[in-house]
Subunit: 255 residues, 2 copies
């Protein structure tokens, strides 16, 4: 991380990736926090100190801290310092500002997650989906259907519709990881952002059978629109989540 060069970015790209410096800083701090080198409530080194330790500019450190705060991992207090968020220690749940595979969130929360149903096939979209994706009704889509369980309890039912530009049915069928990981790592252009709409609904017949619950039981319903960094729509996901054993949170700010 440390360097004597004027612009450290050049060095970083030689070393490993072409990721921004502030992301490297974020990851370094995340490692410290998740590895409990820095405990909940504990004070981080000051911005000034971090610039020296890491050998990067103040802006870069602050960019990293801003993102970590958005994720709820730290809290910055003007005049007194930056602290590891208390809540990151207890029963941790899912922060929504960040796109993350379900099983990653579950893992961080110390819960077991398991894919108990998975099906990939090529389909022709119906009118509504075609409209939302901005495509013709005769354009083929890859449909992915997944049920995930937490501690043995079916908790999330996901149906994704992805454009073929992200790869065909075979590629996705063989993919071991999550759909989100696939979209980020294998798609061109890659997944960069998502717009998620949130509802509370009663489980219909299909959802009830997939999640093994009674019809009409309240579940969180999300419609996720997957976008590339340039705003291109890559796909759309329909999620039903049982919030009994898992739920999301959002950090909100006054503007």
């Amino acid at each position: 991380m440390a360097t004597e060069e004027t612009n450290a970015n050049n060095i970083i790209s030689f070393v490993g990736g072409r990721r921004p410096l502030y992301v490297e800083v974020m990851e370094e701090l995340e490692r410290l926090i998740k590895g409990r080198k820095l405990k909940p409530g504990e004070k981080l080194p000051s911005v000034e100190a971090l610039t020296e330790i890491l050998g990067v500019s103040r802006s870069t450190v602050r960019e990293a801290l801003a993102n970590l705060e958005t994720q709820g991992l730290i809290i910055r207090k003007q005049g007194s310092g930056t602290f590891v968020s208390q809540s990151s220690g207890k029963g941790f749940i899912g922060g929504m500002e960040r796109i993350e595979p379900f099983r990653m969130i579950a893992k961080r929360a110390g819960l077991d997650s398991e894919v108990i149903f998975r099906e990939v096939r090529t389909v022709i979209p119906d009118l509504e989906i075609a409209e939302q994706l901005g495509i013709d009704v005769d354009t083929k889509l890859i449909r992915v259907e997944i049920v995930e369980a937490i501690d043995g309890v079916p908790t999330m039912y996901l149906v994704d519709y992805l454009k073929e530009s992200c790869g065909g049915e075979e590629t996705l069928s063989e993919w071991e990881g999550s759909v989100l990981t696939y979209l980020v790592e294998r798609c061109d252009p890659p997944l960069n952002q998502s717009r998620t709409e949130i509802f509370a609904v009663g489980a219909d017949e299909v959802v009830a059978s997939k999640l093994e619950i009674a019809e009409g039981k309240p579940v969180q319903y999300q419609v996720d629109t997957y976008l590339s960094s340039s705003g291109e729509i890559l796909g759309i996901g329909f999620l039903h989540i049982l919030t009994d054993h898992f739920h999301f949170f959002v950090n909100r700010r006054v503007v």
Copy 2:
């Protein structure tokens, strides 16, 4: 906004408020977008152009644009430009990254909202609430209960518990605006951030009667912890929301 001074902040504070320059920039752009001077999908002036038009630095413009993007009002596309978000034109809903009074969100969506029930009283908290607020069980709290309707349909049922440091029962009873506005404008320290946990539940007897729905009907349930900029807990809110006529969205990013 324009100035020849090295640090424009001094000027700003003389003129009116002590708000950051980038907030002024945000508000200027919001006015243009909401006033339809800039229409959905339309391209904004480039960052470079904005620095000249507004007489502020590149960083300041970018800070403003970053916040507006988080709010879902604009989309930035590397290499091509910044655009007014399409979705801000159609059936607009509530972006969750920002703390906003319910009625403000509704208003922006072009919906009528109306407070159809409101009660303020002083209470002693039960054990659970006292624990979440980090106070003794004999500390008095202000309890605010509100039902809001959208287009005549009861849609949100809110129960807030606020510390007395934010003002007594009388002050709040006479307050015309929303509780959130009160916490931001009249509280010392003021409301700055909130942590919101999201669930889907069935309406219990109380909620059903307040929202005039059947018991067991799925509603979104939120627990909002209100915090000052220094992380001090100001209060806690329990919301039940009917997502039939109104719902939230969240913009999420890959990190």
